[in-house]
């Protein structure tokens, strides 16, 4: 290859969908942002060969012509970080959707350029340091109340540390106003509220920590059976119609993370509208404030350009890392990572890369690993404990979990919530299957639960064992019917039904049921298992199962999850008392009758 020294003005030479080739790009950098054509379509350099650059364009390239000018910006694709992010909704390359609407109406026109944050808006800045002090990289120099839920810390960028030469007084400042001057080893540097950070580069941390605390989601099957730790990574795979999105929405609504980043990546437009409509109205169960005050939305729906879909994941995680650096616990929900992987595949195919499994590029596992590894529990540069938890939805074609995206994702997550079509068909939601799912965080969070409810781990194990035994018994039932089973085994079937209907199935729309506190979760399960233990004893005492089934408390137990709210725990205690009473009466009745020594288990 000849080395080109003299470069003419860069121009487009070839267009194939979102992939554009340009010549005169000898000085361009990998992943540099460029503006293509007279409309200035935003693109990113993804390959450099001699004087030619391959550009991935984030907007529709219709009627772009060879010979159109290309303008280099000299910087990689970066996001703006500063107050005003929370409560915003962005597209994949951090353009605010309301801003685009204001300029081009209901349809997204090409070449629109809107600043991610409002540079005019003034925020009240309260300094935390004074001049002459030493500051380290990532240290908070002041506070801005971003929303009633978020105290935004203005930090020194990760590459700035030294002595504070000057700092402004408390007052109202814009994003670009200099707030402090820091004397660094390489000279004085100004600090403003605004930082920029390249999306493909993880923000630095001090060290990684072990996960010890669960991310409480208020969803019984998750918190009690398959918990995710703060800083953990989980996947929700499921075919269409199994409720991935609803489950993701539930988690985004009720998780006890301080900041939520929701990435709608290649999914339906109406779903994002649903979030936009619902989140400002819903109240955070802990603070009572609107959920939108802690949420950032990234919406790159399926009909928006595919290259922007690829980058939306990185945009989202970078915003999450920024809030993590302030010491917050952040949760990222990506719906769906399969659409992201498909964007990778589509772009790789246009770049004529050699495909690996099912046409996906060979780099798919690396890319997935890079994404999930940006989560974690950490000590920040400022020395605080913080976390980024990641929950990625996976949409396997045909609901088949052996496809590459699901398989590779499994390698980089430790919590797997497998959605099941059969459960979804029976409208059992969340349709997370108790036998196919797992969590490797159980041990990590057990000590936290021990303080909350000492018997959590035992209840969990007992319930899961019951469900496993029920599954085996169902194999027999399928062949010969339930009537031939002895009452002891039929009791297991009966209790398993109660666990499924009365505990695991949880309505996302019922006021009492949509969010279940850890305390109530454990109580509910404890009561169900009380009935099981009492029932077991009764059957041994010769009581037929039919009598246990028709106990007055059973329908109440099944409806307890919706009948009582999180603050009505005493009603659950009452119910438990009733179970004890009724089973006691039954036991007495049979104790009188059962004088014969041997009661055969015939019904």
């Amino acid at each position: 290859m000849t080395i080109v020294t003299k470069t003419a003005e860069p121009v487009v030479t070839r267009i194939s969908g979102p992939i554009v080739t340009a010549v005169g790009m000898y000085a361009a950098q990998m992943y540099e942002v460029v503006q293509v054509g007279s409309l200035g379509l935003v693109g990113e350099v993804v390959r450099l060969v001699g004087d030619y650059a391959t550009i991935q364009v984030y907007e529709d390239t219709t009627m772009l012509k060879p010979g159109a000018p290309v303008r280099c910006t000299g910087a990689p694709l970066s996001v703006w970080l500063g107050p005003g992010l929370v409560g915003s909704i962005y597209d994949g390359i951090q353009r605010p959707l309301p801003g685009i609407e204001a300029r081009s109406g209901a349809w997204i026109r090409r070449g629109e350029k809107v600043d991610p944050l409002d540079t005019e808006k003034r925020w009240t800045f309260e300094p935390l340091i004074s001049s002459g002090e030493m500051v380290t990289a990532g240290q908070a120099i002041g506070l801005v109340v971003e929303t009633p839920l978020v105290n935004h810390r203005i930090m020194t960028p990760p590459d700035i540390s030294g002595t504070v030469r000057s700092i402004v007084d408390k007052g109202d400042y814009g994003l670009l106003d200099p707030l402090a001057v820091i004397e660094t080893a390489t000279g004085p540097r100004e600090v403003t509220m605004l930082q920029r950070w390249p999306v493909r580069v993880p923000r630095p941390i001090s060290e990684r920590l072990r996960i010890t605390e669960p991310l409480i989601t208020g969803q019984r099957i998750i918190d009690t059976f398959f918990p995710i730790g703060k800083g953990g990574a989980a996947a929700i795979p499921g075919g269409f119609g199994t409720g991935k999105t609803i489950t993701q929405h539930q988690l985004a609504k009720w998780s006890d993370a301080e900041i939520i980043v929701f990435i709608g990546c290649g999914e339906r437009g109406n779903e994002m509208t649903d979030v936009l409509r619902e989140f400002p109205e819903l109240k955070d169960p802990r603070s009572g404030r609107p959920l939108m005050e802690r949420t950032i939305l990234i919406a790159n729906t399926s009909n928006m350009p595919v290259a922007a879909r690829e980058v939306s994941i990185y945009t989202g995680i970078t915003l999450a890392e920024y809030y993590r650096d302030m010491g917050f616990s952040v949760a990222v929900f990506a719906d769906s990572t399969s659409r992201w992987a498909e964007a990778l595949r589509e772009l790789a195919a246009r770049l004529e890369e050699m495909p690996a499994e099912e046409g996906f590029p060979a780099s798919l596992p690396t890319r997935l690993a890079q994404f999930y590894e940006r989560g974690g529990a950490v000590t920040t540069l400022a020395g605080e404990q913080a976390s980024v938890s990641i929950v990625g939805a996976v949409s396997p074609p045909g609901g088949d979990f052996s496809e590459p995206v699901t398989q590779h994702t499994r390698r980089f997550i430790r919590c797997f919530w497998a959605l099941d079509t059969e459960l979804a068909n029976a409208r059992h939601y969340p349709s997370i299957h108790w036998l196919h799912s797992y969590s490797e965080y159980v041990e990590d969070v057990a000590s936290w639960w021990k303080k909350e409810a000492p018997d959590w781990i035992d209840l969990r194990t007992e319930a899961l064992t019951l469900l496993q035994r029920e599954d085996r018994l169902q194999q027999i039932v399928k062949l010969v019917g339930p009537d031939v089973l002895p009452d002891g085994q039929r009791l297991i079937l009966f209790i398993a039904e109660i666990i499924k209907d009365g505990f695991l199935a949880q309505s996302a729309f019922d006021e009492n049921d949509m969010y279940c506190t850890p305390e109530r979760q454990v109580m509910l399960l404890r009561i169900i298992l009380t009935l099981y233990r009492r029932g077991r004893d009764l059957i041994q005492g010769g009581v037929p199962l039919a009598r246990i089934r028709s106990l007055g408390c059973v329908p109440h137990l099944l409806r307890a999850k919706t009948a009582f709210g999180n603050r009505e725990l005493e009603k659950l205690t009452e119910l438990e008392g009733r179970i004890m009473e009724e089973t006691e009466t039954l036991a007495k009745e049979y104790a009188k009758e059962a004088t014969p020594i041997c009661t055969p288990l015939l019904t």
Binding site: G17, I89, E101, G105, G241, R277, A299, S302, V306
Partner: protein, 479 residues
């Protein structure tokens, strides 16, 4: 292959191509041509056909010829680049007309007169500008209204199989669809891709008989039309639908049939271009491509109109995990699945109870929309019917006689659900109240205690008390 060109009114005309391969033509030494630009290709006799640019470099353009390449030759072909992407003149006057797959009159009438010409690719709707769809559409079909309700602005496909009555079902939906409170009639935009003439005939006849023809626009790219043309047909149809909905403020029902044929055309072109195939040979971008069609449904804040989409597709060998239904299901807001088993037992419409789903139902039914008990009733029917399937499996093995009393009741319920609730006449238009009453009627064949999902208050209000006492509670007391 020496390209010469002469200047005409449209600009440059190129003579000769370097390669013709399937639907693709490669034109060399081009100047000032854009990506996705429309090309007019003239054959040796000067007859024009349309094409569009798929890939373009400084020296050559790859053109996809929409009307087939039969009769074109490298030597004599003329190519004229029209300087814009594919546009459709749109106007309200197009209602009541029939057009071909590219939007040209096919009923002998004049071309649509309009200054408004729209790019058929459309633009993505800003999710921030969307209005969440929530007005219930009564279709008069119990299986849909009761269990999988359709709302205005939704995209709800019909998954069918060869030989199943999807045409009749969708014609019935179009005929009966209306809103509960308003007397607004839907405008209908109908696009047929690769279907046979008699299917087109069926719809025309049906629309005429029901008087819907005057407010319908039809685009036909029938089975004998060049397959590549189909790639534009749904886009052409939706471009007009967008005009009617968001410029003229109408409520538009868009019927697209059959999406499987559309996907096959896409595969054909992909293969001809030498693209790396994905699952079953379909291109890797099938999802994005389908999304660019299906996502053109919905409502927009501040606009009175709406687009409701009912795409119809046939599942090859009834396989719901085939890429076409699979990817469609991931984009659309639910699916109405037709079931061969029900069909063979004479149930019409044979809408499968369990795999059918409407994602937007939750927001369009219930108190303030239809009736308070609607969501719970649907959920309970689903749960009970799911159990019926299990009992039937069991009955196949051990025989019906061996089942418990309760399980036998479930079988009865299943029978009643299918024959009375699902089953209805092709011209029977049930109001939502009728559907809900029927639902309770069927549900009341089961004892009250089995209806775990229904609250006591609703049970008291809607459960049809039967003469016989619920089983197991009292008789066993004395055991």
């Amino acid at each position: 292959m020496h390209a010469t060109f002469d200047v005409e009114d449209h600009g440059l005309q190129y003579v000769g191509a370097s390669r013709i391969d399937g639907p693709l033509v490669v034109v060399e030494r081009i100047r000032d041509v854009g990506y996705d630009e429309i090309v007019e290709i003239l054959d040796y006799a000067g007859r024009p056909r349309l094409g569009r640019v798929l890939d373009i470099s400084v020296t050559q353009a790859v053109v996809q010829v929409l009307e087939g390449t039969t009769g074109l030759s490298n030597q004599s072909l003329h190519a004229r680049f029209l300087g814009e992407s594919f546009r459709l003149p749109v106007s309200r006057q197009m209602l009541g007309r029939v057009f071909d797959g590219l939007g040209r009159p096919a009923d002998g009438g004049p071309s649509a007169l309009s200054a408004e010409r729209r790019d058929v690719n459309g633009m993505p709707i800003n999710p921030y500008a969307r209005r969440y769809p929530r007005e219930f559409i009564q279709t008069g079909v119990s299986a849909i209204d009761g269990m999988n309700a359709l709302v205005r602005g939704q995209k709800l496909p019909v998954f069918s199989g060869n030989g199943l009555p999807h045409d009749r079902v969708s014609a019935q939906i179009v005929r009966q669809a209306r809103l509960l409170e308003e007397e607004v009639e839907f405008s209908i935009v109908f696009a047929a891709m690769g279907v046979k003439h008699d299917v087109a005939e069926f719809f025309i006849r049906n629309f005429r008989d029901s008087g819907a023809l005057a407010r319908a626009v039809m685009f036909f790219s029938l089975a004998d039309a060049p397959s590549v043309e189909r790639l534009l047909t749904p886009r052409v149809a939706l471009t007009l639908a967008e005009h009617l909905a968001f410029d003229c403020g109408q409520h538009v029902l868009v019927l697209l049939t059959d999406m499987t044929n559309y996907c096959e055309s896409l595969r054909e072109v992909g293969t001809a271009r030498g693209e790396i195939p994905g699952r079953k040979g379909y291109p890797g971008y099938l999802y994005s491509d389908l999304a660019s069609i299906y996502e053109r449904a919905g409502r927009i804040e501040g606009s009175p109109g709406s687009i409701t989409q009912i795409p119809i597709l046939t599942m090859p060998s009834d396989d719901i995990s085939h890429p076409v239904p699979d990817l469609t299901g991931y984009i659309t807001e639910g699916q109405i699945v037709l079931d061969r088993d029900l069909f063979q037992r004479g149930v019409y419409p044979p809408i499968a109870g369990l795999p059918s789903l409407s994602r937007l139902m939750k927001d369009g039914v219930g108190k303030g929309y239809t009736r308070e008990d609607h969501p719970i009733l649907a959920s309970q029917l689903f749960a009970c019917y799911a159990y019926v399937k299990r009992v039937r499996g069991l009955a196949d093995v051990i025989g019906e006689e061996e089942l418990s009393t309760l399980d036998k009741q479930y079988l009865k319920f299943g029978e009643a659900f299918e024959m009375r609730f699902l089953n209805q006449g092709e011209y029977e238009n049930r109001s939502i109240e009728t559907t809900l009453e029927l639902g309770w009627d069927v549900l009341s064949t089961l004892p009250k205690d089995e209806l775990h999902r229904v609250s006591d208050a609703l049970l008291k209000k809607y459960y049809h008390e039967k003469e016989e006492a619920p089983i197991c509670a009292t008789p066993l007391q004395g055991a």
